[in-house]
């Protein structure tokens, strides 16, 4: 039963007020993209046992999409941040480094 802090309304929201939205920081591939890129975009999901970046919506709340950095093995939450970004902000990366030195996830580290 997760609690995540919504970075828009600032409230700690109960899991039952949130909607999970899968992996974060996906790059959309549209017409003109290769078959491989398009398959990766739709189906190639990171499924790590450990640090993961994912999308959530403050569904019974302010309605905003945000991202969370979370460990799938322990459910530890390293931080949440607004979704309008192409990569995790520095403060989130630092928070992860403090707990999981040497981490990497996709192209981020």
């Amino acid at each position: 039963m997760l609690i995540l802090n919504c970075p828009y309304c600032g409230r700690d929201k109960d899991e039952t007020e949130l909607a999970a939205g899968g992996e974060a920081h996906l790059t959309r591939f549209g017409p003109g993209s290769s078959d491989q890129d398009f398959e990766g975009y739709l189906f190639g999901r990171a499924n790590p046992k450990g640090l993961h970046f994912e999308r959530w919506r403050c569904a019974a709340g302010c309605g905003k999409w945000f991202h969370a950095a979370r460990c799938t093995a322990t459910l530890e939450v390293f931080g949440t941040y607004k979704a309008q970004t192409l990569e995790p902000p520095r403060v989130i990366k630092d928070a992860i480094t403090a707990k999981r030195p040497g981490w990497s996830w996709r192209n981020f580290s």
């Binding site: 997760l2 109960d14 939205g21 739709l42 569904a59 460990c71 322990t74 939450v77």
Partner: protein
Amino acid sequence: MSTRLANHGRLINRSKAIKFTFNGKVMTGFEGDSLAASLLANDQMLMGRSFKYHRPRGVVASGGEEPNALMNLGAEGHFEPNARATTTETFGGLTATSQNHFPSLEFDVGAINSKLARFLPAGFYYKMFIHPRSFWKHVYEPIIRKSAGLGKAPKARDSDKYEHYYHFCEVMIVGGGIAGLQAAKSAAATGVRVLLVEQTAHWGGRAPVDGATIDGISAEDWVHETVVALSACENVVIRHRTQGAGVYDHGYALAYERIADHTPGDGRPRHRLWRVRCKQIITATGAIERPLSFAGNDIPGVMLASAVRDYVVNYAVSPGDRTVVVTNNDDAYRTALRLKKAGLDVPVILDARAEGGGVLMAEAIAVGIRVELGRGIAKVIGSKRVTGVQICAQAGEGAVLEEIGCDVVAMSGGWSPVVHLWSHCGGKLFWDVDQAMFRPDPDKPPLGIDGAGFVRVAGLANGHLRSASCMVDAAIQGTAAAYNATGKVKKIKTAEAEDAEEVPLSPVWLMPQGASYKLRSKAWLDFQNDVKVSDVQLAAQEGFESVEHAKRYTTLGMATDQGKLSNINGLAVLSKALNADIPDVGTTTFRPPYTPISMASLAGEARGELFQPIRKTAMHEWHDDHGADWEPVGGWRRPYAYLQSGETTDQAVWREVINTREKLGLLDASTLGKIVVKGPDAGKFLDMMYTNMMSNLKLGRCRYGLMCSENGFLSDDGVVARIDDQTWLCHTTSGGADRIHAHMEEWLQTEWWDWQVWVVNITEELAQVAVVGPNSRKVLEKLGGMQVSADALPFMAWADGEIGGITCRAYRISFSGELSYEIAVPASRGLEFWEMLVEAGAEFGVMPYGTECLHIMRAEKGFIMIGDETDGTVIPQDLGLGWAISKKKEDFLGKRAQQRPFMDNPNRWQLVGLETLDGSVLEDGSYAIAKGQNANGQTNTEGRVTSTYHSPTLGKGIAMGLVHNGPDRMGEVLSFTKIGAPPVKAKIVSPVFYDPEGEKPNA
């Protein structure tokens, strides 16, 4: 015999006698009794039958760990099976019956299983009943099923109510014994919010029974003072009859409050499930005494030593007249001393330790109790009640040294901390060799949201058996929890406790240690599931070496007590059999809840009327009053048809179709989604959302649009209207509004966040009525207001105005193929507008119509329906909707997906109309049979029916379907499956059955 003693009883109120019944017999108890205590007071030691062998079972414990004394309680809407007599409070009018026997508790034919026990060892069913094949289902299994199970299945509907409660605090403490109370005091001193829960109706746990002294006063008095003090603290909530049932991630915990189990029918909720969110949890859950494994330890009258003491002290109930105490530790001496003090006979204490015990032993000897050291029980004598014990040397093989008559055996194999809650969320344990117990490993706690431990354990549950260290530990944990939760520190004086010195126990996992097979096969580990020492040894012999394998193979610990008494003993036997150390064999995983909690409490208020919300339109009540046969549609209910008296549903639907086609029909279309999209980039945005172009839609006009998922599949459709330069209004399917609104927001927030677009879902703001049929214009003109003529409001146009004095927006669109308007009015005026139409339309033959009529009319026109023609695997190209896919746009959601080889493929099944050769109606979901079979021997197919109806307009069956290369095969006849009958021939035709030129809606 067991009986009520003349004096004392700390929990009972002798001035309030209570009548209750057991197996139909009227008995008397006192207020404050547990049902088990009341039964014992009435000399009812035999309380049930075991699961597998149907052996007679008496109560063995005094709390939630009880495996035997399970009852059917109450009747009708208050009936409950498998209620523990030890945790059931006796109340006036209580009715209990014993379980798992036929025809009676005293005489149970199922007990034949006990005679056959040697043929029914652990796992016997895996090795037998293999032949003949059909016998498992038809012979063996039914017999096993009937013999298994415990209580009766409830029949009547639950007549109680239940609720949930969300509680937030910084520190939650589970267990209201002295450790829990001290931890609460220490945590509360810092001012943090504390919740303290206790599963029983009483505070203090074992300490008042065992007689410790705390801060110079009796434990009883200290508990009382502390409870009063805590109750007065504003930051503390204390709650009895409330069990900490489960610990979950991120500081979530369940507390199960049994409000009215002992006061049924008083109007209060029966149970309340607290969903607690806290920063830190302290489990001060105490410990459970372990039985000893000797032959005949399951015979009624063999009880835990602590339970015997509880019955005497708490309820003034003597389980028997002569009690033999058998132990491997000092604590059981307390039982002997208490019995003696109550004037009862203790013929002997058998202490398995060669050296015996400490001061408590000395005290026992001093009061004249015979103590035998290095001795144990070879075998208990008796069948439905203990009549005596055979004494042997613990170090030997069971040679009988002496036989002593008694009617109770009080046994103690040491104590196991209750670590369940610590383990629920991943806390690990270590084996304390000296105390022979698993204890929470403070270095491996359950991890919380910040990656640090969020559960602590205090007192006995943390392995502190003596009161003094228990209190010190509790104070440390309480202070630390408050600090970890909030950073606040405030130290208070820790209560100082004293109790008798004890010498260490000596682990005894089998009595006597060299017991023969014959004795081992009578030495019970799991009393309810009938698992004996020999069964666990057999499991090890057969290679079930993992503790999980052994548990599952023998069913040890899988009974309703979840192995609270049997787990450690079973594990020790397994370790011995495997020649391994106990910690290397490990423990099974403890799963929530701690003890069983009612299913009803999980559902809470969500039952009956409140089971799920029903979404209602402004006209809902009118429909209900006019014969609506309801159909659930995405949270809403829509009328399927309006039944008039004497009509079948089919007749009603057909009448509605004919009437709407010939005269005038009204449809409540309020459930269609309505989403406003506005902004400088709104056109660009909608061009991405829809497969067709929306940016070039002219002001005042409507366009039918399709939406696809990124996977290319058709997901929604609806009419889009251009409201002004920067504003569009998008209609979605019924029940699709929330999904599509969220879908739009998702893309705007997470992909195109720099686009200037606002979206608002106004579905609920409006009531919408489809006014359909050749007379539709007449009725609107009669009501008066805005112009609705063909010129003023042509097909696929919309306009704002007023009709019958009500502000509205009118769309000239048609999903029926008739002249048709959809009129949106403020929801608060929806009913008024609807009734106005009904009244004014009377002269034009108005009738309301439901969803099935809507479906038939659209099928007659060959219009697709999301969910019928589409199923999540269909792309617009399959449905002849290529015209709605813009060729001009570089991109839209789903475009790239539709370029994949399996989708951009002429061999896909495509939409056609279908007509049977005999005019009959094809079956829903019917498949077109193709020649041959595939590699797996399945008959090949070449199409399927997606919608099929009797068309009252055309007087024959019509259908739509997807057929391989369908549009190129017009006129071809295919064979369609019919369940239980030969295939049906149907011809491929155009899907537009009615008004193919499309003249009517343009009228």
